[in-house]
Symmetry: C2
Amino acid sequence: MTRPTVNDIAREAGVSLATVDRVLNDRPGVRAKTVSAVQEAVARLGYVRDMAAANLARQRSYQMVAALPDGDSQFLAELEQALREAGSGAAQARVALQILRYPAEDVHALAAALAALPDTTSGVALMAPETPVVRDALRSLRARGIPVIALVSDLPNTERDHFIGIDSRAAGRTAAVLMGRFCGGSTGSILAIAQSMHLRDAVDRRRGFDEVMLAEFPGLTVLPTLETHGADSTLRAVVTEALRHAPDVRGIYLMGAGHRALAATLADLGLTGRMVIIGHELTPHTRQALLSGHIDAVITQNMGHLARSALRVLRARADHAAIDAAQEQLRIEIVIRENLAP
Amino acid sequence: MTRPTVNDIAREAGVSLATVDRVLNDRPGVRAKTVSAVQEAVARLGYVRDMAAANLARQRSYQMVAALPDGDSQFLAELEQALREAGSGAAQARVALQILRYPAEDVHALAAALAALPDTTSGVALMAPETPVVRDALRSLRARGIPVIALVSDLPNTERDHFIGIDSRAAGRTAAVLMGRFCGGSTGSILAIAQSMHLRDAVDRRRGFDEVMLAEFPGLTVLPTLETHGADSTLRAVVTEALRHAPDVRGIYLMGAGHRALAATLADLGLTGRMVIIGHELTPHTRQALLSGHIDAVITQNMGHLARSALRVLRARADHAAIDAAQEQLRIEIVIRENLAP
DNA sequence: TGCAGCTTGAGGTACGCACCTCAAAAAACG
DNA sequence: CGTTTTTTGAGGTGCGTACCTCAAGCTGCA
């Protein structure tokens, strides 16, 4: 009835508690035959280690690290905040999360910081661009036995243990469907704006967006991506310029930050409310824009889920435990004013 | 550096370990002055009880119960499945979840089952209609010190400790916005179909739907709700009849089950793909319908989150611990083909 | 046969906490 | 003041596991 304990295993296998312990914890000095006897007893009784008690005894604490690029984007601020909360929430589970911000453009600084992590680190969650330097840093981390998961933006499969985030291409496709349908069958062109097309995410989003627009909404033409490089003034300039050349713009797909600048620019041009606007990532700005009607929809991922999922996966990795893939699957969320959480 | 333990509290407060224990566990025989001395020490050191160790010592196990109406709807099957998985996932945290199915129409049977629960039950999650019998049963449960949370469909505030589910009215509003925008500014009428308008959820959804349709899409008229009572044949009959009388139907809002029957009916009438269809609850049927293009969007809540949230909240109630409201807030999810999880 | 080396058992300590008992100290009371 | 009552301390045991030591048993090999 009650859960079997190590003592039950010992009795069932006809060995001593010490031997069971040696087997369960991969300690040497046990004959292969005895090992399998114990393992059979474990299987027979359906024993599962009581992690709470084990961690208590082990005096183990998980030293997790999350590394994010620096920068004052609201998205990163939200992510950091979510990680921080997940970290303090998990404190009772003996996990301590340290958040590391590295200079956004300086992957060498990131690599150095990762190399400086103590061997006692039990896991690293990383949001970083996909460069050779980063790849090497990850490989070296993993060689040291430290699991690494990619956050938000995926890294090459072989270099990380897990990816936590949404499929950017599917997110782009989702944005396209909403854009197409919200435009209601009319013809015209669509403006796509990104911070930079050097980031993998932006490229994937754009790719997904184009796929669907081409296939399902042939009446709408997506113009070449405008890059803002994170500067509001640049956004204003390129949008103004683009709208001058293409007066038939029916919608704007804003793939990165800049919603306030965009709203201001459209207001100045007297175009507020005249086109469908779809953005990414729910932040205070986009939330406000949804409420005020400046944006029609936002495609996002839940930062809280992402952060908690990251910690869970890292813990599971550290414990060599299984991961519930379904639970860790992040959804591509569609947010409009009506389903905005209060 | 490390977390303070009860011993640290004892030293800090200048009392013995036994006294700290008495205070922490609300045991009698401690002077008010001493109690506050201990509490101050707790606050000063930022002590938080190690729940894992506490439960280990207490030999505590949580006996949770989830009661759902009987019936073969996919939604209920998914919910039960999700609860079952959440339960086995939480088994390592010493919670055992028993799932109780009661005859859908028989609230007396439900009341009897609830009354028969042992006093050792640590919490009940309940999906039930809002009737006096249910209300009394809940009141009596809570009088016995057993926390009760409402699942999916809320119960009157005073009778339950918590509600886990989405705001049905907001869900209806969300459906309306999608319906209106997907119809693309055209005029006509909208069919609304429910299993029964006796369920609180359906009424709320309809209310939210109407609010938005009236205010934002005056060109679209929502016809009176058709009730199917869960029978495919009824659905077919009422839909066929309704479409005969109203040839200008532009969209269908299916608030409950019946997607297969609806698809078949429309196919027979040669209307497949001719109108916007919006449904509720992601199930194998609606998922299939999204993939095949028979439905345009589904408004849903994540069963996995719901189930896990229910267990978390029940546990927190049992432990008299705080609840992270933000984490337990279920989202109204919008699902279209493009953001359907694989 | 004897000895080294491997394997196993027995038992202890610790983790942080709950819960129990008994005696001693302190406070309240008449 | 003595007596009763309340409050407190000291200490123990156990939860399920990890990890350590030491001695005893077993194995194979020269």
